[in-house]
């Protein structure tokens, strides 16, 4: 296997043209995605980094795909802004990998996911063509929107070299609460109550504990009004959802990193809806897990991927393995779709990206 670190789009195009199989690596942080690609030339985008254009007043940022997510977050926060889909900030995660795998953290709850904030991209496809998809302004309805298609595309259709996102002003302050419930059903009932209330949470996660289930809730806003809002939220929750306990926690990045307690084993993302959680729980048999984004994303750490695979298949759910030794990064219900196949025929007819 040859390893290449192109410094430019032209070099990348040459790699694609000159090799029968090409496998893209951002920084290699999602190890499970790189297991099954022996024999392919690998193209490491870690050399294609940097912010190209950032205009805070436009709410847009354009950057190279190999840029570490941390660098982007730092640049945005200097201007009081953030990328609301909340890319997971592993030490070496790149923005290209974030898009390819469609990975978002808990704060995705407030305004939306990667698909909701991507505006456009420059790509190199399987024929070595370099071209632009989408736009650079916050609104654009011209042409087919292939930029959204890239979200979750796992590098199988085209290699992203440059990306444009919409960004938002970030809140100056945060407060976090833990609300404890007994059985899962009660915690879910609290989620449904929040779903139909006008409380605007910055994040909402659901975590299993030794004695029951807890909700982690975060409010964002101004220092001067947050205490009042926290008070209002807590009393409404106490009144309507009867938690066993409500405790304010010290707000911190690690509290809101859904993967913080999931080190070790295979790490799997599953997209599901809150009402699927009980059946999923029954099939999971105790793997370590956290439900993020109001119960719409499950993060699971397990040593028994095959069992998880079978459980997912039974429920017609799909999982994406991000870490660990697996045959295929996608487990559970297969993701083949006829519309995706048609796109594949156009962008990568020779299966260079597999």
């Amino acid at each position: 296997m040859s390893v290449n670190a192109p410094r430019s789009v032209t070099e990348l195009q040459a790699i694609v043209r000159d090799n029968e199989r090409v496998h893209v690596v951002g920084n290699g942080s999602k190890t499970a995605l790189h297991n099954a690609h022996d024999g392919a030339a690998s193209a490491e985008l870690s050399g294609m980094t940097g912010i190209i254009e950032y205009q805070p007043s436009e709410y847009t940022v354009t950057l190279r795909a190999g840029t570490p997510v941390r660098d982007l977050a730092a640049a945005l926060s200097q201007q009081g802004q953030y990328l609301p889909c909340d890319p997971l900030m592993g030490a070496s995660a790149t923005i290209g990998g974030t898009v390819a795998c469609n990975l978002a953290g808990s704060r995705r709850y407030r305004y939306g996911g990667v698909r909701d904030f991507i505006l456009g991209a420059e790509v190199v496809d399987g024929l070595g063509r370099a071209f632009r998809v989408g736009g650079k302004v916050v609104k654009n309805a011209a042409g087919f929107d292939l930029s959204k298609f890239l979200v979750g595309s796992l590098g199988r259709y085209a290699i992203m070299t440059e990306l444009t996102f919409k960004v938002f002003p970030d809140a100056p302050s945060f407060r976090s609460l833990r609300l404890d419930y007994g059985p899962l059903e009660e915690a879910l009932r609290a989620v449904y109550f929040i779903n139909q209330s006008a409380f605007e949470l910055d994040a909402l996660d659901l975590i299993p504990g030794a004695r029951g289930w807890s909700l982690l809730a975060r409010l964002a806003g101004y220092d001067e009004t947050l205490p009042q809002r926290v008070e209002r939220f807590s009393s409404a929750m106490a009144r309507e959802t009867a938690p066993l306990d409500i405790e304010e926690l010290a707000d911190s990045g690690s509290l809101w990193n859904p993967l913080a307690d999931l080190a070790g084993g295979c790490l799997v993302k599953v997209a599901l809806s809150p009402k699927q959680i009980p059946a999923f729980e029954a099939a999971l048999a105790g793997a370590r897990r956290r439900y993020s984004v109001g119960g719409n994303v499950a993060w699971v750490a397990t040593d028994e991927v095959d069992a998880l695979d079978a459980a997912l298949q039974k429920l017609a759910l799909t999982g994406l393995c991000l870490r660990g030794a697996v045959k295929s990064a996608v487990i559970g219900e297969p993701i083949d779709n006829v519309l995706a196949q048609r796109v594949k025929q156009v962008l990568d007819p020779y299966n260079k990206f597999m």
């Binding site: 063509r129 929107d145 779903n195 809002r229 009402k275 779709n337």
Partner: protein
Amino acid sequence: MNRAFFAALESIYPPQRLLTRDVELLPYESDALTAFSAKPGAVVLPVNEAEIVDTVRLCHDHAVPFVARGSGTSLSGGSLPIPEGLTIGLNRLNRIKKLDPQQRIAVVEPGVINLSISEAAQPYGLYYAPDPSSQSICTIGGNIAFNSGGAHCLKYGMTSNHVLGMKVVLADGTVTKFGSESVEGVGIGPDLIGLFVGSEGLFGIALEITVRLMPQPEVYRTVLAAYDDLGRAGDAVSMVVASGLLPGAMEIMDRLAIEAAEASVKAGYPDAEALLIVELEGESIQVNTEFERLQGIIQQSGAFELRVAESEAERTRIWKGRKGAFSAVGRLSPDYIVQDGVVPRSRLGEALLAINALKVKYGLEVANVFHAGDGNLHPLILYDGRAVGALEKAEALAGEILALCINLGGSITGEHGVGMEKRDYLPAMFSEEEIDIMQALRRSIDPREIANRGKMFPGGEAPALKLQGLHPLEKAGVISRE
């Protein structure tokens, strides 16, 4: 349309849902881009999914072009019939199949009217966020085709951002599903929803759509600011953005639009060169604090009058003028063209000055109404279609506005789509190779190019809005302008 095809249609549809007589076809000959009309070969009115799928398969087998039609409110000629093609009217598929307030989702048929979703969700404190001004008549299917937006899309996005799942029939008759009831939508694997939404009816027909609902904000705080200069209103928008506030909506209207709105809905707007509407929404405690900041900013921005909506009735009145602006301007003039270009927000002032200069150059009136928060302009170019050469002049002016938007780094369309109207401008935005790739994509899904043939891509055989003189099909009497 050959006999065999027609006979097959007759086996699917009873006569009252298979329209062929001139008087029956008349209502389907145009959409809201009324400068053009074309006579379809027939119109069918399916009442269920199976009929749609059978019809599309039939069209594919017989290579008969078709256009799906919701309410026909497209402003870009998207639902203009294909001469001698089939128009598939979807209004009868108007059921909300499921509404799950706990998970905040609804599953709807494509002919459901945008506003009816919000009406159904209202008792649960929820609503469907994308709010095109046409929301009381346009359908979700049409919204999907154009990724439609509205005044309140700054914060929560356009149609695409609110669709979680879809079942579609592709143009070659293949039925497929993607997405889910999770807010993640597709979640794992390429985001096919993002690809399908905005494809202008060229990939096929959406049969069933899962949308996400949002909780109704606890409060709205709306302010109307009057300026004696349009540029100053534009600057105020930049000041709001720079302050770190994230309003739900920021809209500007210029003098002509104000006067028109005033004359038609009597919104009680002040006499001004420009009006800015800014609306904050959310939890009351948070919004009240934000609103104080907002008022401070607006005061500094040189507004000569500032009105705060003190009641829901006042808020409704402020919006009524804005939402009715298109139709109101329509009353000022026998005909008008609505443009939909986008410019980077920081270049709004520049764009407006340039449009003013174009007005003078062409001797035509242009009213400006726009989604200032995202740089989406809606210049309404007024002309009298009965005057010789007036339409051509208006179109030339429209063309210059589009070129301007591209030169300023923006787009030819923010939400109305390319359709028929702007298809000749697509090459100004995308390279030949990029257009080739889009066309290849289209053919991979629709090898016979039957779905909405003649739209979005330059050339083709459907009637095109030509910049000069009559279109050949007009000369041949196939299409006509009203």
